[in-house]
Symmetry: C2
Subunit: 156 residues, 2 copies
Amino acid sequence: MPKRDYLDDPNAPAPNSLVVAVGAVVRNADGAILLIKRGDNGLWALPGGAQDLGESTTDAVVREVREETGLQGRVAGLVGIYSNPGHVIAYDDGEVRQEFSVVFRVDAMGGEVRPSTESVNVEWVTPDRVPDLDIHPSMRLRIEHGLADLPTPYLC
Amino acid sequence: MPKRDYLDDPNAPAPNSLVVAVGAVVRNADGAILLIKRGDNGLWALPGGAQDLGESTTDAVVREVREETGLQGRVAGLVGIYSNPGHVIAYDDGEVRQEFSVVFRVDAMGGEVRPSTESVNVEWVTPDRVPDLDIHPSMRLRIEHGLADLPTPYLC
């Protein structure tokens, strides 16, 4: 479980870890975006998580969508690569992880939306509701890019 | 130094590491592509290497281009994300690293091409010469995508 999130904070500890994480922008026919309420910190977020050894990055995002939301997905494109070195997450075991996340556009192909142990709530959220939800700034940036449908992937 | 490269080999060892690496497709006005001959294995490759802690992924590719070729670059786009779990590299110290590489299109903005300790040769290579060079298949795929100028990033 994350101990603390630091964003552009001069007092942040130095990172000692870089992990490939993935996120999914899934939208329905009405333009709503699929968000989860995370079990670990209570914040709303895109479905996603760390890539496992033995799978590709696209396999990882399809697996995370299935595990966290119940939906079967198919990768449809890339929203961006997020690697701001000013965003680090400190964990209880001493790991200080620097942000690295690949966010894909994923089409929902089937399945039924349901929560999981990692996602206590899973909802289709209309874009007008997004500003009112409790969302970490680094995640809000990704959601805004997903809703904006950028012409080229965001790269940093 | 890599001990051995395995590609879709049923006898490959199981991976125990995933490291963010970057590569650069840099082309000149004549359409030639910038390739280096690696000091560690003698193969031709795109300039690139592992992302360091404290830098973004785009910072990393600009740094690697400068270190390995002498050129100052600017990120212009994304060629693809390469994460074939069937490609692993075993090292002498027991690390078995699974492929994970982000390949960017990089514009050369200045500087003079020169070799380095990691790149014993640095050359602008015309596309017709690429098939004759000794290049690992996973790297050849990236070079071909860079030369083909794919309409959307390659994702796996």
